[in-house]
Structure formats: C-alpha cells, structure tokens
Subunit: 93 residues, 2 copies
DNA sequence: CATATAATTCGAATATTGTCAAATTAAGAG
DNA sequence: CTCTTAATTTGACAATATTCGAATTATATG
C-alpha cells in the first residue's frame, strides 16, 4: 500500500493523477476515460517524464491504461482508491 | 498535499503511522495518544530512524508530537487525514 | 551524583528518484 | 511512401531519501 502513496508523493505525478480523475469525471457519461495528449500541455514536464509517471501510477494500480489507436487512454482504478480511503479512515470520536 | 503522500510512501514510515493510529484508537477513552517507546520494538528500524521518520510525519502535519517528561507522545492530526480523504474521494458512479 | 532509559543529532554510505535529450516506435493522414 | 503527432525507450545526471553507528542530550530514579 506504501506503493500507492509513493505514486502520489511527487507533485507532478499527483497533478497528473488528479487531471486524469478530473477528465474522467468530466466525461463519465461516455466513460471515455482520459486522453493523455489532452493533459500534457497543462503539466510542466516533458513527454518522457509523463510516460514514466504514468507507468508508476499504473504499477501502483491507481490507474489502468489502454491504447486507442494513436492515443493513450487512462482510467482510474476506483477499487484501489477505495482501499486507500479505507486505510486512512479513522475509527474514533 | 504531495508532502502528505510522501510521508506515507515509505513502508516503515507508513507502518509507524499506522501503529500510532492504532495505539491512539486503543486508548481513545483517555486520549493519551501514542507513547513512542511502546511501538519501537515492533518496527524493524533503529531509534535514530524512527526519530527521523516522526519528524517527517510531523512536518507533513499528519501527526503532532509532544514531550511528556522522558517520553514522546504522538497524536494523529485528524483534520489533515480528512483533507486527504476528501482529495481522494471520487465523484461519479 | 551515578546510572539507566528515551530520544535526538551528526555524519556518512548506499540506494532511489525525477528529469531531460536524443533516438525510436506506433499509428493515422495525405 | 512520406510526414506528422503520440508515446516510449534508453542512458545519463543531479538531487533526495533511507538507514545506521557513534556520540549526545533529556529526564527520571536509586
């Protein structure tokens, strides 16, 4: 589970993750997920670094990625996000 | 906020945090918090490293620490934990 | 005071990370 | 086939992180 937190521990990578969430939620009716090339400009890192970070998010099972022709589509793994939330939940008053 | 995730990204530090949560919840009636010396044995790292990790958790504002005579007491910052939970919450179906 | 326990500081070694530039692959469009 | 855009791979480098041993400080107790 530390792997998930590590995946979110870098500011640029966290931003990348949050953009994916945002894009996916914005298109939840069609459930297209997030086209990576649509968010690359809003991040201040180069394409190789984005590719590298995406792999880390996927390796932590926070997202799934799938190639759609020329494009890469990312989707959030909601189960994993729920697991993280459960771990952090506090049980007292 | 990435700082919080970084604080939890190291396996030993995450374990340390979870032990603090557990100890605190176990004694929530008295709200003593967690005596650090009571959990050092269950972690497979030395005292200097624990001291260092505690500082990182405190720096990320995940915990508060307070000296009680010879001992150090740690308490979870519930507000911060709630903020993290809010950030990770998903808003679709 | 002398001793013991809890915790911190310091310095160093080793490992991991984040990032980029350059080259490469993947795939579609003309 | 050629060109363009999207993404990946490789190799490298600087910056950070993790951990420990040794020494030190803080505090309580006999």
């Amino acid at each position: 589970m530390a792997k998930v937190f590590k995946a979110l521990s870098n500011p640029n990578r966290l931003e990348l993750y949050l953009q994916i969430v945002k894009k996916q939620e914005a298109s939840y009716k069609t459930s297209y997920g997030c086209l990576i090339c649509e968010i690359t400009e809003s991040l201040n890192i180069g394409a190789p670094t984005i590719s590298h970070h995406l792999k880390e998010l996927a390796n932590a099972e926070l997202i799934f990625t799938e190639r759609k022709g020329k494009y890469l589509v990312a989707r959030v793994n909601e189960e994993m996000v729920n697991e993280v939330n459960d771990l952090l939940k506090l049980h007292n008053g």
